[in-house]
């Protein structure tokens, strides 16, 4: 007879810091044309953006809640505050950021990471960026890394208008429409032709206010032959009320350009993470996604790539860790329309303590995508029998001249492997944590060292107290 023991989870103290006394301005909760108008006014939107927001709200109101994924019944938009502005201006100096907000980012290690390993940082607190800076040598290469609102009024305004919500349109789904109506904050990156940004840029999103939503928009354009690694991090303290994240990420990868987009998502477990990410890749371009999903109460997250240009390529490497009270529906989508395009989706998911992890994917190979190739590999690990792990992939192939492979595996931690490690003097808990870390190795090895360490720490946190 197999026996299991259970030890409580430890608290996630770094991420659970609450800034209860932050001086901030909030709009009333709910979603009305008046609220959208107020946000537009706060943002000093150009007229086209104001009209776009109102149109998006109309679309939002006309669309139904998805019935194919995790329940979002606990999310009542009437109780969500869509705009919360800390009473501070964005600064390029940490010393000018209010002390309590700066302390939060210090504890999350953002300024230190910036000093040691990043080319630029944007830090968003609730609905607004409080810090944005890019290293001089990177700016000197012509790289633009700024908050999106400032950029809307700057020399790149036309470029933003041309690209903003063209990949993710408000008609895509209800929460894309919501985003179009109330988006706030986020970053704009433009990498000029032929420029390689040697070290990554990072945006970090912190949602502090209880019952609030965060709707940042990230727009990245990597021009012909350019190369960028962008890192996105996010966290929030846990509250007893629902918080909502409905951001949007639009990525344009030019001819022969390369973009790597890495995310460590660690929202608190009261968060509804209904985020949308999409990339379009031109001829010979490469899009790489590295994605770690650890937080949130409910997640719907499937970065999508459109391989439009001939010989373009996409790789998606992801891990999802669903613990107690979490229902994480994650995966990837790829659409091949260009000839000789190739994609590889490699995901791992782990479920424990009643957590539900769902891998969902779609691979579409269009009629003209001759000689295209795709491979999908997804592996799931169940750590107990009160959790769930579902795999829901779909392949839609419309040319005979394609090569598509798919493999999925589901199973548990090998008792033999645990026994072997224990025979070498390692405790059962550590043995299982080691095996799970090894299982997640495909993601951690794709991350810069300090982020891989953070990810492994998160896994250790989640595994603590799960002997069984």
């Amino acid at each position: 007879m197999k026996e299991k023991s259970q030890v409580d989870d430890i608290n996630r103290s770094i991420y659970d810091i609450k800034n209860e006394n932050v001086d901030e301005y909030k709009l009333e909760s709910g979603l009305t044309p008046e609220i959208v108008e107020k946000i537009s006014s706060e943002k000093n939107d150009p007229e086209w953006m104001r009209a776009f927001r109102l149109k998006s709200l109309e679309i939002y109101n006309s669309m139904g809640i998805p019935d194919w994924g995790p329940s979002i019944d606990g999310l009542d938009m009437n109780n969500i505050v869509t705009y919360v502005r800390p009473n501070t201006k964005m600064s390029a100096k940490w010393s000018e950021v209010p002390e309590d907000i700066k302390d939060t980012f210090e504890r999350l290690g953002i300024p230190q990471a910036e000093r040691e390993s990043l080319a630029g940082v944007g830090a968003q607190f609730d609905s607004e960026l409080v810090y944005h800076n890019v290293k001089e040598e990177v700016a000197a290469q012509g790289v633009i890394y700024s908050d999106l609102e400032s950029a809307l009024h700057g020399p790149y305004a036309d470029m933003i208008k041309k690209h903003f919500m063209k990949l993710i349109t408000p008609q895509d789904h209800k929460f894309a429409a919501l985003h179009g109506a109330v988006w706030s904050g986020g970053s704009f990156v433009y990498v000029p032709p032929g420029v390689t940004v040697e070290i990554p840029l990072q945006s970090y999103f912190r949602l502090n206010a209880p019952g609030a939503g965060q709707f940042e928009h990230t727009l990245i354009i990597v021009d012909e032959g350019a190369n960028l690694h962008f890192i996105e991090g996010c966290s929030a303290p846990k509250y007893n009320v629902a918080n909502l994240h409905a951001g949007a990420v639009e990525l344009f990868v030019g001819k022969n350009a390369k973009l790597r987009y890495s995310t460590i998502e660690n929202w608190s477990k009261n968060m509804y993470n209904l985020n949308t990410k999409r990339a379009i890749v031109e001829e010979g371009g490469t899009m790489e996604w590295v994605s770690g999903s650890f937080g949130s109460h409910v997640s719907y997250l499937y970065p999508m790539t459109i391989l439009q240009g001939a010989d373009s390529h996409m790789e998606f490497t992801g891990i999802t860790f669903a613990g107690k009270g979490q229902n994480l529906d994650t995966g990837a989508k790829v659409v091949h329309t260009g000839e000789r395009t190739s994609s590889y989706i490699n995901t791992k998911s782990i479920s424990k303590d009643g957590g539900i992890s769902t891998f969902r994917s779609s691979v579409l190979i269009g009629k003209n995508a001759k000689k295209s190739k795709n491979a999908v590999s997804c592996q799931s690990l169940m750590l107990d029998d009160i959790s769930r792990s579902d795999t829901i992939p779909a392949m839609d192939i419309r040319t005979k001249d394609a090569d598509v492979g798919h493999e999925a595996k589901i199973g548990k931690v090998s008792d033999d492997a645990v026994f072997y490690l224990m025979s070498r003097g390692i405790s059962e808990e550590d043995a299982r944590a080691m095996i799970v870390s090894g299982f997640a190795d495909n993601v951690s090895k794709e991350l810069p060292l300090e982020y891989a360490v953070e990810m492994n720490n998160l896994i250790r946190l989640e595994m603590k107290g799960s002997i069984g």
């Binding site: 579902d390 779909a394 392949m395 192939i397």
Partner: protein, 378 residues
């Protein structure tokens, strides 16, 4: 055209994105569906045959309608609307093995709509073997012209129950005309060490809706499915297979291999569902799709649903044309690419037909392959 009613068939056990249009299949069916009796060849004295009327509440246990309607089928509850008002019940006596398989031949006229029900019951430690042949009346396999749908329909619902240690081997060949829609729906339940082995070859029908759901209730119960298909012209095949593991150490093995020519389309939904408590269950699913048509469309949706920790589930799929290595190898043996493709396509079908226990089927399939080979365009 007669009045029709739209039904939902072959629904995925859990939904995915609507824009993929794979969550279910919709079919307009005539409101009037006649009942079709099969031509039956039952040689084994250990098999009893009985006609069950579903209009009246009759009998108990396996002779009551409630017993059978409790077994879910792969097409789903609306599939019931297509089947007949009575059912043919075949029972294999305990501790016996079919000496020769029962052969049931359903002949559809290609004009009207027909529905039938078949219930198969294998008593303790028995093995029941059944071959189902569904063809167009006056089948002419030399006629390889594409046909337009004309409103004709054939539907067969099969429900299977295996007692402890019993097995049902079901072999199905489908060769309807392309002017017809065919719905072939299966539901099964296996008690401890019970097993269902399904072999199915889908070659005809303009639109095909084929499904099977097996409830592996008992410890060590088992479901194997070996599916072959060949779709050409504008044929549309929609398939839904579900293995639901409830019993400890239950196993399933689903192997699907097929060929898509011309502008044929195919949807294959395959689900392995590990229900909490089915410890040490193992489920495997594999699909190989050979795409030979310029306008062929393939959709594959292989699900693994898992509520139990101690299981092993695997799925693999390969989709595409013949790989260059195979073509090169055959080319080095003097076989041109077109012949090589015909050979490989035929071998996919033959690999399944060879396992049928009666020569009549193999003969029909050989004839079909010859016609298909002549019809093939590259």
């Amino acid at each position: 055209m007669a009045n029709t009613k739209e039904v939902s068939l072959n629904a995925l056990p859990v939904k995915t994105w609507y824009w993929l249009k794979v969550n279910d299949a919709r079919l307009a069916v005539p409101e009037t569906i006649e009942e079709l009796e099969p031509v039956a060849d039952i040689k084994d004295s250990n098999i009893t045959y009985k006609k069950l009327s579903l209009k009246e509440s009759i009998g108990e246990g396996m002779e009551s309608a409630g017993f059978w309607t409790g077994i879910k089928t792969g097409a789903g509850p609306e599939g019931d609307l297509l089947a007949g008002k009575s059912a043919d019940l075949l029972v294999q006596e305990a501790e016996t093995v079919s000496a020769s398989p029962v052969v049931l031949h359903y002949e559809y006229d290609g004009v009207k709509a027909f529905g039938s029900r078949l219930y198969l019951y294998a008593k303790k430690n028995s093995t029941l073997k059944v071959v189902v042949i569904a063809t167009k009346k006056g089948l002419d396999l030399k006629d390889t012209e594409a046909k337009e749908l004309n409103g004709s329909l054939g539907a067969l619902q099969t429900r299977i129950y295996t007692e402890e240690g019993a097995k049902v081997e079901l072999y199905m060949l489908q060769l309807l005309g392309e002017e017809s829609v065919y719905v072939s729906d299966i539901g099964g339940r296996c008690e401890e060490k019970g097993a269902i082995a399904l072999t199915r070859l889908e070659l005809g029908a303009g639109k095909l809706y084929a499904a099977a759901e097996t409830d592996l209730v008992g410890k060590h119960s088992d479901f194997t499915a070996r599916i072959g298909y060949n779709a050409r012209h504008a044929q549309m095949f929609d398939m839904n297979y579900v293995a639901r593991h409830r019993g400890k150490k239950s196993t399933c093995e689903m192997n699907v291999a097929g060929v898509l020519w011309d502008k044929a389309t195919k949807v294959f939904r395959g689900t392995i569902d590990f229900i909490r408590g089915c410890a040490e269950a193992v489920g495997n699913e594999k699909e190989e799709v050979l795409m030979l048509g310029d306008e062929a469309v393939n959709q594959t949706i292989p699900l693994i649903l898992c509520g139990e920790e101690d299981v092993e589930g695997n799925h693999g799929a390969t989709i595409g044309e013949l790989d260059q290595d195979t073509l090169f190898y055959l080319g080095s043996r003097g076989i041109d690419p077109e012949t090589a493709k015909r050979m490989i396509a035929a071998s996919r079908i033959e690999a399944v037909s060879e396992t049928f226990p009666n020569g009549e089927v193999r003969k029909l399939v050989d004839e079909f392959i010859r016609g298909a080979a002549e019809d093939a365009e590259f």
